[in-house]
């Protein structure tokens, strides 16, 4: 008797399972489809960039209807990117600039985020709101005054002149603060009970836990420095201090009566490669997210 009872529910069960699976499959297909659509939308302009970079200067200028393929791909543009303009030197400059700025930024931003999230002091909220307010100032405005400041300090055409104004970004302070705040209070209280100083807590506990976010911030800052254009252009007119973004513009203008877009695209591709590699390396770390499991066990 019991087996009979079990049989009927089993048929029903199978039907339910089948329906559920069907739902899951359609759900998954839909998900994959939508993700792919967006992926194509994202990839297409890059395909176009790559395509342009292997078209020759004359071929590119001669085609009035954009073509999806090229009959005579050439690497001449990549060659031009390095010979017409000292791109390798610009790479070095950009590397120095990026490393220094990112390192400084890390220190400044971590300390500030810690202060906002963990420490109690009078006027904290007010100061934070003011920081947020500063974030609302468009870059174009401060640039002229900073230009005057840096010139007055005699830092035109120096690395310090490039680095100092680019160090702080309230954007990242905010991000890190949010991240720090999500670390549970219990950890802090436990540390205090143990007698740890705030600074030790910061370095031994918070930073390791927030490693993914820190890595994210570092990578974002690196990308920002790598592509930085307006400020370096304003500050430097000595080719020894040009950055890669400046190099791209130079190549673009190195034409024969018109802009050299294929060479420019080649330079852009070359410049983006290190960043992509960087992203691929640290990808897992970034995606790990903040672990909330600090209090577990």
């Amino acid at each position: 008797m019991t087996t009979q009872n079990l049989q009927i529910p089993q048929d029903d069960l199978k039907k339910v399972e089948k329906r559920a699976r069907g739902k899951r499959v359609t759900g998954k297909t839909l998900t994959y489809f939508s993700l792919s659509v967006w992926a194509v939308l994202v990839l297409f302009p890059f395909y176009w960039m790559l395509l342009t970079s292997i078209k020759s200067y004359s071929a590119y200028n001669a085609e009035y209807t954009p073509r999806f393929w090229t009959d005579a791909p050439t690497l001449a543009n990549y060659q031009a990117a390095f010979t017409a303009v000292p791109l390798a030197k610009y790479f070095l400059n950009t590397l120095i600039f990026t490393v220094a700025t990112t390192a400084l930024m890390l220190v400044v931003v971590t300390l500030a985020a810690f202060a906002f999230s963990r420490l109690e002091f009078k006027g904290k909220n007010l100061v934070f709101t003011m920081f947020l307010a500063l974030m609302m100032i468009p870059n174009e405005l401060v640039i002229i005054t900073n230009f005057v400041t840096i010139t007055n300090w005699g830092m035109r055409n120096t690395f310090w002149g490039l680095i100092l104004p680019s160090v702080t970004s309230i954007f990242y302070i905010y991000l890190l603060k949010e991240n720090f705040e999500s670390i549970p209070d219990e950890l802090y209280k436990a540390a205090k009970v143990d007698g740890t100083s705030d600074f030790k807590y910061l370095t031994k506990v918070m930073i390791p836990i927030s490693a993914p976010t820190l890595v994210t911030v570092v990578i974002l800052k690196v990308i920002e420095c790598w592509n930085s254009y307006v400020w370096p252009r304003l500050i430097t007119d000595d080719a020894n201090y040009y950055l890669v973004s400046n190099g791209i513009q130079e190549i673009r203008e190195h034409g024969f009566g018109r802009q050299n877009i294929p060479a420019m695209m080649a330079a852009v591709v070359v410049i983006s490669v290190p960043l992509i590699i960087l992203f691929l390396i640290f990808h897992k770390k970034i995606m790990a997210g903040v672990s909330r499991g600090g209090t577990k066990g």
């Binding site: 009035y64 005057v148 007055n152």
Partner: protein, 584 residues
């Protein structure tokens, strides 16, 4: 908390005063109003009275007795090229040659391809006293640079100096004498009665014509085109076959008349009709009835699609070379793009059409008295505290006028050397004579275009240069563009449209700060507004059309302010409510 706020406010105040010092120290109090200047001031007199008020007499620069060749000097040179590496090479050779002659001089170069960028950078650097030494620029922009005290160096004395002036005795190179520079070209660099710039290269506008097509339509190409002729032929070219293709070229695309620089178009048309455009002291006469009637005519031809512009349809040369345009008007510098055999091409080979190309001056209203604009880069030098540096800058600027540089640069495109010395030199004459030998260095169209300017130097003119003339030029161009767009959209270009267009354009380029005069009305609107800040806001009470603060705020602005106010009221309320809830 209180202490904190006080401390904070104190800091802010201190910083404010520091920053305030920044702005205030450099200001000079607004000078008393200039006595009412007479209108239509093209007389040298008005220029003189203005000058004595505007620029302090002392230029701040005195020519040193001798050029100290033992001192190392680094000159900062900002050059402009047309995205053309050949031109950059010429500049670099010039610098190298100069450094060979004067080994104590070295260069720091910045390359530009856009005058606007040079302008932006110079303005930024004026504020910090880090201007370059020599730069290639437009006189329009120099007018703006001049508003700063002593930024630019007057060239009059330098040019006349025995030792280091034009053709001076101490020069190590063969520089032209003052008389050897084409006077019409030299004139453009005169601002407020003094020479501030030397011309570097000159060009004019020319019509590049598909002669084959003109004759196919049954017309004979005259030596000087008239506007009537060009409109008539353009309309005739619009005839279509039954299947929708054009009779003239059998293709689906045909825009018979394309003009590249619409600002020049309007300026030249007005000049040919002796109508008002602007005056030397900055009065704007552009927005008048002649302009209106010209715009209406242009719009009509736009409606039939027989006329278009570069901004709307892209480069005229492309259409010309594909047989889709009969009259392409561009600078003589653009000659290397025109024609079936042109070296620079933007269209694929299979689209190019073979035809006989002719070069003519721009269309005229009065073929007996042709008038065409001349334009091109000029070179200027900036004032520095070290007179030796300025002298070095001057020497280099002169060096750019030597035959080698002039001839080499002019050969890259359809430019013409600015010195008679170079023009009449054997080398240049030989270059001209070899027209047609190949399609590259001796491309016939390029040389024809250069010859056109050489033959018509006396018919060229330049527009008055003053602080704001660049905006005015852009405004002239915009008027034409908007009229054409209106015609394209098949809308009527009537008086109402013109009035609206005028006021929109004045607002767009902030021209309401200069007196806007209708040449039919006789009085100037704002006497004395041409004082030092010629671009200052007009005195309250002036009837300039747009943006006057005495008028009530426009709707959008009001809405914006109200929304913000309401938002803050809401915020305050919510904040209070929350505070009360917390207390409980």
């Amino acid at each position: 908390m209180k202490k904190l706020i006080y401390l904070f406010l104190a800091l802010v105040l201190a910083a404010g005063m520091l920053a305030g010092c920044h702005g205030t120290l450099e200001t000079t109090a607004a000078p008393t109003e200039a006595p009412a200047t007479q209108e239509g001031g093209e007389s040298a007199e008005s220029g003189e009275t203005k000058e004595s008020q505007e620029i302090p007499d002392v230029n701040g620069f005195a020519i040193p007795d001798s050029f100290d060749t033992s001192r190392k000097i680094e000159l900062v040179f900002w050059l402009k090229n047309d995205s053309n590496s050949a031109q950059v090479a010429i500049y670099e050779k010039a610098m190298a040659d100069f450094s060979t002659l004067y080994p104590n001089v070295s260069f720091k170069v910045r390359k530009y391809t856009d005058y606007g960028e040079i302008y932006n950078d110079v303005i930024t650097n004026i504020a910090t006293n880090t201007t370059p030494n020599v730069c290639i620029t437009y006189p329009d922009h120099i007018a703006t640079y001049l508003t700063g005290t002593g930024t630019m160096v007057r060239l009059d004395e330098l040019m006349a100096d025995e030792k280091y002036g034009l053709g001076g005795s101490e020069l190590r190179f063969d520089s032209p004498h003052a008389a050897e520079i084409v006077p019409q070209f030299l004139g453009e660099g005169v601002l407020q009665g003094h020479q501030y710039a030397l011309p570097f290269m000159r060009s004019t506008e020319a019509a590049y014509i598909n002669k084959t097509q003109v004759e196919a339509l049954g017309y004979e190409l005259p030596d000087v085109l008239t506007w009537d002729f060009i409109w008539e032929v353009s309309e005739a070219a619009m005839a279509k076959n039954a299947d929708g293709t054009f009779k003239l070229n059998g293709q689906k695309v045909m825009i018979p008349f394309i003009y590249k620089s619409t600002d020049n178009m309007m300026i030249q048309m007005l000049k040919q009709l002796d109508a008002g455009y602007s005056t030397h002291d900055g009065k704007i006469l552009l927005f008048n009835d002649t302009t209106a009637s010209l715009l209406k005519e242009i719009a009509q031809h736009a409606m039939t699609r027989s006329f278009s512009t570069f901004k709307i349809s892209s480069y005229p040369g492309n259409y010309l070379n594909a047989g889709q345009c009969v009259f392409a008007i561009d600078s003589t510098a653009g000659a290397t793009w025109m024609g079936h055999d042109a070296h620079n091409q933007d269209i694929p080979k299979d689209q190019m059409v073979d035809f006989e190309i002719a070069v003519r001056p721009v269309p005229q209203f009065d073929p007996e008295n042709p008038k065409m604009i001349s334009q091109g880069p000029s070179v200027c030098i900036f004032n520095k505290s070290d007179p030796q540096e300025v002298l070095a800058s001057w020497l280099f600027a002169q060096f750019l006028l030597t035959n080698d540089v002039q001839i080499a640069y002019s050969r890259t495109e359809g430019y013409v050397p600015v010195t008679l010395k170079a023009q009449n030199s054997a080398e240049y004459q030989e270059y001209l004579s070899r027209s047609g030998e190949d399609n590259d260095a001796y491309y016939s169209v390029k040389i024809d275009a250069a010859k056109l300017l050489l033959e018509n130097v006396d018919d060229t003119f330049v527009t008055p240069v003053f602080n704001g003339s660049a905006s005015l030029r852009n405004a002239a161009g915009t008027l034409v563009e908007q009229a054409v767009k209106n015609g394209y959209r098949k809308k009527d270009t009537d008086d109402a449209f013109i009035t609206q267009l005028y006021s929109d354009t004045i607002a767009l380029y902030h021209l309401d700060k200069s007196a806007v005069v209708d040449p039919d009305a006789q009085e100037t609107q704002a006497p004395g507004s041409e004082s030092r800040e010629s671009a200052e806001p007009a005195q309250p009470g002036t009837e300039s059309s747009q943006g006057k603060t005495s008028e009530p705020l426009p709707q959008t602005a009001k809405a914006l302010l109200y929304c913000v106010a309401i938002a803050w009221v809401g915020i305050a309320v919510v904040w209070l409510v929350r505070k009360i809830k917390e207390r409980r």
